[in-house]
Each structure stands twice: as structure tokens, then as C-alpha cells.
């Protein structure tokens, strides 16, 4: 079968729509196009019914008690904002301290920064060098003013899966609300809000072969009942939690994507893990000085974040332009700062500059993996021939011992 270029291996950034999801969505654009809040005619009733069905599918998948606990949003960034700011505002009489981690998505970190400007205090717990957060560190940070802990299910850069169940047990014991940004892990690793004691969870459709522009926030309704101050005011939709006409086709697509995971998710995770390991093994066999970033086992099945020592990430990405991936190198970020996730794991800056993130997914094949492995191996070797650092390494010079004249 002919390969299609560029080969897409950036599924942590977004995913293509599964054809079944697209099919499920189409009728809601021109046939059942009603506004789900239109109570007075069949167009509205059909749209509402579709939305309510979707709610149940999603609630069921995450172990929630009912669809009433699902608040639809425009995506996980909005869900993160709603969870953090909504909880902070509602519970500010009870306390003003929030705990999160340094490896969270910007939607969480920037929401916290905004709250700091408004007088809240935030503790940012570090991840260890393997990209995992230690529950004991979270517990140690809890005070009697803590109202919320926010920890992601799996990290988007290194794919490490956080000990959500352990953290949930702690927060439940201490009476603190627990928000989990479940975007990357959802569908790919077990996630259950009941057994893990999660009180709020951010979800999005476009990382699970669903459409962009739609997501949800799970908000627990009992034991405890979580309250929020809405961030979007208007018609009072979503039980007053989030005003705005619902993206019905998006919601239908979201639910279809989830139901596909319910049926195929477990087998798919194993297949993708096999492809990821095949890619990793092929590369490691041929190249020296390649390092895996993040815990080797506790990581998402499709994630492979590698540092190719002595070769810079953007340069390598240019060399493998037939493959769509991303890098933790400063050169690829607008701010010229290397990946804050890799830095907060304590990764050597040089290795952060040399990192490439492969994100395998549903539509990747063995053929693609073999092609990419060979391409990467060839290009890394070529770039190492251009690299003064590799030459020094081959001569046995310890690069760390050199006094660099940085400009």
C-alpha cells in the first residue's frame, strides 16, 4: 500500500476524524440542525435528544453517575478554565490555595497564574526526572486553605501517566476537590472518576478522533456536590454552568468517538503500543546516545519522546519533513525557550533541544513505522556528521567540561 506523505505521527497535537464519527455528525448540520435549547418544535427536540444521549455515553465511559454531571464546552482549554476559575471563585470563602504541577498544560498553568494575580496562592509541584508526580508531594502541600488540586491524567509531551487514583485518595481524605485534565489519557489508559475520586475532569474530542471545537467538563454532583461559578454568562445552558448554544454536531461526534473507544479502546491501545515499541527498538538498535524521556512503562501507548544527543530537534525535524512530529527544542517554540515540561523534569538543556516527540495513533501502520525508523536513523547519522558535539563525543571529550562562550 502506498504511503501517504507527510506521515502523521503527531496524535498528541490532534487526531484526524474517524470516518464513523464524521458519518454520525453529518445529519446534524443540515437535517437535524435544530438548537438543542429550542423547546417548541421537533428540530429542537431531536437536537436535544441527541445531546442527552451523548451525555449518557460520555458519563458512562468515565464512570460518572449520570449525564447531568457532563457540562459541554468548546474544548478542554475552556473546561480547564471553568474548573479552576469556577471552583476558585465559588469556594473562596473556604480558602484560597490551589495545588497543581509544573508539567500541566498551559490552560491549567495560565488559569492558575491569573488566579495568583487575583490574590490566590498556587503551589506548583515538580515532576520527577521520569515525568511522574509523587502523590506524597501533593499531600505535603495541602493546607487548611487548599480548595483544589489539579493534576493531569497523562502528560502531552512525554506521555507519562500520573498516579491519579493515589492522589484522589489523598484529596478525598483531606476534603479537597480534585480536578484532572484527562485530555491525553482519556481512552488510552484506564480512567474512572468514581474509583479514582476525581471531582472534575476536562475532556476533549479532538484527541480521540473526534471533531475540534467541542469538549466537556465532568462536575461531580454528589459526595461531594461540586459547585462552580460559571465563566460564560448568558442563557443559562448546562444547568447554569456554561451558557452558549450547544455544538450539537460536535457533541454527537464526541459521543461517537467515545463509543468507538468503549468497543475498541483496549485492543487498540495494545496495537499502538506494539507499533511504538517497534519504532523505538528499530531506532535504538541503530543509533547510540538516544534517550527516552519519561517513565518507560507508565506512559501512553502511542507516545515516544526521544532525545537524539548531539543533534538539534528543529534541524532533525526539517530533515524528516516527510513525517509530522513535534520537538521540545527552543527553536520550534515562538519564545525560543525549550520545552518547560522537559526542563521541569530536570532534563539537561542540550537534551531538551535534541528531543522529538512521536505520537502514534489509530491510523498509523507498521509500514509507516518502518519507513520512519529508517528515515530517522539516516538523518540523525547525517546530522551527527555535521555536529561538532558528536565529533567531540567520539574523541572522548566530555562536553560538560567545556567552558562555553554563550552569546
Amino acid at each position: 500500500m502506498a504511503l501517504k506523505f507527510p506521515i502523521y505521527m503527531d496524535n498528541h497535537a490532534t487526531t484526524p476524524l474517524d470516518k464513523r464519527v464524521l458519518e454520525a455528525m453529518l445529519p446534524y448540520f443540515t437535517q437535524d440542525f435544530g438548537n438543542a435549547a429550542s423547546r417548541t418544535h421537533a428540530y429542537g427536540w431531536h437536537a436535544e435528544a441527541a445531546v442527552e444521549d451523548a451525555r449518557e455515553v460520555i458519563a458512562d465511559y468515565i464512570g460518572a453517575e449520570s449525564g447531568k454531571e457532563i457540562v459541554f464546552t468548546s474544548g478542554a482549554t475552556e473546561s480547564d478554565n471553568l474548573a479552576i476559575k469556577g471552583v476558585a471563585e465559588y469556594y473562596k470563602g473556604k480558602g484560597n490555595h490551589i495545588i497543581t504541577t509544573t508539567i500541566e498544560h498551559k490552560a491549567v498553568l495560565d488559569s492558575c497564574k491569573r488566579l495568583e494575580k487575583e490574590g490566590y496562592t498556587v503551589t506548583y509541584v515538580n515532576a520527577g526526572p521520569d515525568g511522574l508526580v509523587n502523590p506524597a508531594d501533593i499531600e505535603a502541600a495541602i493546607t487548611d486553605k487548599t480548595i483544589l488540586v489539579s493534576v493531569m491524567l497523562a502528560n502531552n509531551e512525554v506521555g507519562t501517566i500520573q498516579p491519579i487514583g493515589e492522589i484522589g485518595a489523598i484529596t478525598r481524605k483531606r476534603g479537597v476537590l480534585f480536578h484532572c485534565d484527562a485530555v491525553q489519557g482519556f481512552g488510552k489508559t484506564p480512567f474512572d472518576v468514581r474509583t479514582m475520586n476525581v471531582d472534575l475532569a476536562s475532556l476533549t474530542a479532538h484527541k480521540i478522533y473526534g471533531p475540534k471545537g467541542v469538549g466537556a467538563l465532568y462536575v461531580r454532583r454528589s459526595k461531594p456536590r461540586v459547585r462552580l461559578v460559571a465563566q460564560m454568562d448568558g442563557g443559562g445552558h448546562e444547568r447554569g454552568n456554561r451558557s452558549g448554544t450547544l455544538n450539537v454536531p460536535g457533541i454527537v461526534g464526541f459521543a461517537k468517538a467515545v463509543s468507538i473507544f468503549k468497543q475498541e479502546g483496549v485492543a487498540e491501545a495494545e496495537r499502538i503500543r506494539g507499533l511504538r515499541d517497534r519504532l523505538h527498538n528499530a531506532i535504538s538498535k541503530e543509533l547510540d546516545s538516544v534517550f527516552l524521556n519519561g517513565h518507560p512503562e507508565k506512559r501512553l501507548p502511542g507516545n515516544l519522546n526521544l532525545s537524539f544527543s548531539f543533534v538539534e530537534g528543529e534541524g532533525l525535524m526539517m530533515a524528516i519533513k516527510d513525517v509530522a512530529v513535534s520537538s521540545g527544542s527552543a527553536c520550534t517554540s515562538a519564545s525560543l525557550e525549550p520545552s518547560y515540561v522537559l526542563r521541569s523534569m530536570g532534563l539537561d538543556e542540550e537534551l531538551a533541544h535534541s528531543s522529538i516527540r512521536f505520537g502514534l495513533g489509530r491510523f498509523n501502520t507498521e509500514e509507516e513505522v518502518d519507513y520512519v525508523a529508517e528515515l530517522v536513523i539516516g538523518k540523525v547519522k547525517r546530522l551527527r556528521e555535521l555536529s561538532p558535539l558528536y565529533e567531540m563525543h567520539q574523541q572522548g571529550i566530555d562536553i560538560k567540561s567545556i567552558q562555553w562562550a554563550a552569546h
Binding site: E314, M318, S329, L386, L389, A406, H407
Partner: protein, 153 residues
């Protein structure tokens, strides 16, 4: 990143990649940047007795713009006198490659690399001339020179 044709050409087919003998007295070695910054350039020049750059080699750890900038630098300085080469400005490199604003610093590093190589050559030459000027105490001078002329890298 939208790169110009010239930049891509230098990146795909870099000129003058390689290594000259660091210990050769007619060779100057410039090593600039830092791995922590994601940019390291090593540029070497071989200078004729008349002060003309006969050969130049480079190796770079860095992005496409960094590799292209240093490749272009070696191409430009070959055949120039060291004074002419020292006059090359980063803005000229940036213009030639149509570097996007966020990559201008790569051309700055290339200019620094040229100057660093020239400085190293000049320092080595000065040390040799000092050695030649006082042949009386060659043994002690030689050890003093090898201590003083150790390159900054």
C-alpha cells in the same frame, strides 16, 4: 517554518563540512554558542602566509537556520583576507538567506564564529612570532607558548 530556497539549499547540501587540524599553526578555530542554548558552531580557517583564507570548514549543532548560516559563512570567507572576512556582518547573512526574525540570532552566531576563528588564528600567530623572536631560550619559550596559546575552547 517557511524557509527560503537558499536556506534550504544550504541545509540540504551544506558546503565545507568538516574538520581542519586544530594544531596546525595556519589554522584558526572558532567555537561559539552553547549546547544549553541549542546552538553550537565550530568554524575553522586555514590562512595563507599572505593572510588569505585558503580553506574553511564548519560543523554545527543547531537548527536549519544555524546550519545554513554557518555553511554560507564558510563559503563567503574562502578567498578573502582575514580583515575582509572579519568585516562580514550578520545582517548580510540574514539577508542572503532571508532569515525570519526569530532566526536572526543564528546569523549573529555565524558572524561570531568567523571572528572567533580569526582571533584564534591571530593569537596563535602572535605566540609563534614571539617564539621566533627569541630563539635563545627556545625550550622554556616553547612551554610558555603552548600554555599561553591554548585555545579558549
Amino acid at each position: 517554518m517557511a524557509y527560503s530556497e537558499k536556506l534550504l539549499e544550504h541545509y540540504e547540501n551544506p558546503r565545507n563540512v568538516g574538520t581542519l587540524d586544530k594544531d596546525d599553526p595556519t589554522v584558526g578555530t572558532g567555537l561559539v554558542g552553547a549546547p544549553a542554548c541549542g546552538d553550537v558552531m565550530r568554524l575553522q580557517i586555514k590562512v595563507s602566509p599572505e593572510g588569505v583564507i585558503e580553506d574553511a570548514r564548519f560543523k554545527t549543532f543547531g537548527c536549519g537556520s544555524a546550519i545554513a548560516s554557518s555553511s554560507l559563512a564558510t563559503e563567503w570567507i574562502k578567498g578573502k583576507s582575514i580583515d575582509e572576512a572579519a568585516g562580514i556582518k550578520n545582517s548580510q547573512i540574514a539577508e542572503e538567506l532571508s532569515l525570519p526574525p526569530v532566526k536572526i540570532h543564528c546569523s549573529v552566531l555565524a558572524e561570531d564564529a568567523i571572528k572567533s576563528a580569526i582571533e584564534d588564528y591571530k593569537a596563535k600567530r602572535a605566540a609563534r612570532l614571539a617564539l621566533d623572536a627569541s630563539p635563545a631560550d627556545v625550550a622554556t619559550s616553547a612551554s610558555a607558548v603552548s600554555g599561553a596559546a591554548a585555545p579558549a575552547n
